[in-house]
């Protein structure tokens, strides 16, 4: 009997320890980024980092570390992706939850899961071999590797996230709302547009933000398909280089422990903070609509 109680307690402690280590990993990531980021700000001021748009760490004589162009590139590509993915995703979610018969749904949902499973490097490859020629043909450009290409690909990558969260949100609208609309003589389309979707706005916003959180940190796709020009973009037809792409390109070339090395960690810290804020806000909004749905 004593032996059994011992093992019972032992495993309780063991599982609690594993759980504690989990929290430590997140804190560790945060701490590591802050620590290495601070090393960078010992030699470069925060103001010149955030205020300048010129990133040229290997310039002979005077290296410059400005995040402006990259930050704008990242936002441009991600916002473009959202413009494409949000209507498409909400439309698909509405179709799945309000229109599609159960059996059709059972086939479409796994297909969307497979879309989510396509590795980002394969999506990037599709950007090079399929999307880029189409873009350069339609718009008469010499090269289709630009911000628009990245936005299209990231939209595809954000779609599964947006669809699944938006579908959950639409399903959380109480049936009595819809029945009320039907009783007043509204048809299914009018009900969807004037009652169901407005009732779950917060859930749809959460879906959008989670999709945004997913694409803003995407690396390989934008690295392969957006042309990687280290300059301030003027529009969707310019090649861009995002924060993630810059880290991916330069980390392999910098010597350990240099200002440039820590600069890349500072970029990582900025990216981490942006995604953390987006995800926390989205989770807060999502928690609200889940409670409301019950």
């Amino acid at each position: 009997m004593k032996r059994r109680t011992f093992w019972d307690r032992f495993y309780h402690r063991l599982f609690a320890l594993a759980a504690g280590l989990c929290v430590l990993v997140l804190l560790g990531i945060f701490g590591m980024l802050l620590f290495n980021g601070f090393r960078f700000f010992e030699s470069v001021s925060l103001w010149s980092f955030l205020g300048s748009s010129n990133w040229n760490p290997s310039a002979w004589g005077k290296a410059t570390y400005g995040i402006g162009a990259m930050l704008w590139s990242t936002l441009l590509v991600s916002l473009g992706a959202m413009v494409l993915a949000v209507p498409l995703g909400i439309g698909t979610a509405a179709y799945l939850s309000e229109v599609a018969p159960g059996r059709v749904r059972d086939w479409i949902k796994p297909a969307i899961e497979l879309l989510a499973a396509v590795p980002s490097v394969v999506v990037g490859f599709i950007g090079i071999v399929v999307i880029a020629p189409i873009i350069s043909w339609i718009f008469g450009l010499s090269n289709g590797l630009n911000a628009l290409n990245g936005s299209i690909l990231l939209a595809v990558m954000a779609l599964p996230t947006i669809i699944s969260v938006a579908e959950e949100a639409i399903r959380s609208v109480p049936n009595t709302y819809k029945e009320g609309a039907y009783a007043l003589g509204a048809n299914s389309w009018t009900t969807l547009i004037t009652v169901t979707l407005p009732a779950c706005t917060s859930g749809l916003i959460a879906a959008t933000m989670l999709g945004m959180g997913r694409v803003i940190g995407e690396t390989m796709t934008v690295l392969m398909a957006t042309g990687n020009a280290n300059a301030m973009p003027h529009g969707f037809f310019d090649p861009v280089r995002t924060i993630t792409a810059t880290v991916a390109i330069e980390m392999g070339e910098v010597p350990y422990g240099t200002t440039h090395f820590y600069g890349l960690y500072a970029l990582g810290a900025i990216l981490f903070i942006i995604t953390l804020i987006i995800n926390l806000l989205a989770e807060g909004i999502a928690a609200k609509f889940r409670k409301q749905g019950r």
């Binding site: 290495n36 499973a117 396509v118 590795p119 394969v122 299914s188 690396t219 993630t244």
Partner: protein
């Protein structure tokens, strides 16, 4: 037909169009890759190393590297993740630590993969002196897949009816004995599904291994876990953007993409089938 009926029909068709467009992306990816990639696929391609500056030969070292690194990641993430999920579902009461834990797991799932790469470089490669290797990359990928394994395992545990736990306890089992003999076996299909999905995610990731051990080219298969390695996704990246004669190696890039995508889709399909098969596990036994 009234105006209202008309807008309804147009509106519903519009929703259908959205769905078809979404699905067409999957169709385009599958069709383009498999139609252009299969001609370069051969047994030789799967079973030999690259030759002549990667313009000829196969991808065996990349397949071996991806398999090994995924295996290492799972070996570390699975026990750790399952233990974490058991704590959350079986032991944890609703207090500050549980809330912190849940918030951490949710946010870990949202951390961009390249940040895991930076973390792996700082912790495993530099601080722990493992060096750029299969082990360092595998550990980095283990951290990346951890939140997925925890979430799916917890859901699998939650689906085991409480009556089973109570029955075990009533027979005099300790809490651990009821978990070991009743709860875990019952949750096994769900845990397996989650593990397969985590495997497929780890196999397709590039950014986390970029700084932690993946190599442009190795002539031999990896001899130990401390060697650098080739990996399928990185090989595809190299062949499609970094090679000096891009057009010449395009068929090889296509074939590599087919192998990588085929592997990931097979894993995902088996997870989906497993889930459908065990979907009614607890419903029928009630």
């Amino acid at each position: 037909m009234t105006k209202q009926q008309f807008t309804k029909i147009v509106g519903i068709q519009l929703l259908l169009l959205c769905t078809l467009l979404t699905l067409s992306f999957l169709g385009i990816i599958l069709f383009d890759l498999f139609s252009k990639g299969y001609s370069a696929l051969s047994w030789d391609f799967l079973s030999t190393a690259p030759r002549k500056g990667m313009t000829q030969g196969g991808i065996l070292p990349a397949i071996a590297g991806t398999a090994l690194v995924t295996l290492v990641a799972t070996l570390f993430a699975l026990p750790f993740g399952v233990a974490c999920a058991i704590y959350l579902n079986e032991y944890a009461q609703d207090h500050w630590f549980t809330r912190l834990l849940r918030a951490s797991i949710r946010n870990l799932a949202g951390v961009p993969s390249i940040i895991y790469g930076l973390f792996g470089l700082a912790l495993f490669v530099e601080a722990l002196h493992i060096g750029a290797s299969i082990l360092a990359s595998g550990l980095t990928l283990a951290l990346l897949t951890l939140p997925y394994i925890i979430t799916t395992t917890e859901e699998a545990l939650r689906n085991v009816p409480n009556a089973y736990r109570e029955a075990a306890l009533a027979l005099g089992a300790t809490k651990w004995e009821s978990i070991k003999t009743v709860v875990l076996p019952g949750a096994m299909p769900g845990i397996l599904t989650g593990t397969i999905l985590a495997l497929s995610r780890a196999a397709g990731e590039t950014a986390p291994i970029l700084f932690t051990g993946v190599a442009f080219y190795t002539r031999y298969l990896p001899g130990s876990l401390l060697d650098e390695f080739m990996a399928l996704p990185y090989h595809l990246y190299i062949l499609s953007t970094q090679h000096q004669s891009l057009e010449q190696v395009r068929p090889l890039a296509y074939a590599t993409a087919v192998v990588l995508l085929g592997m990931v889709l097979l894993l995902n399909l088996s997870a989906i089938i497993l889930r459908i098969r065990y979907r009614n596990l607890w419903k029928t036994s009630k």
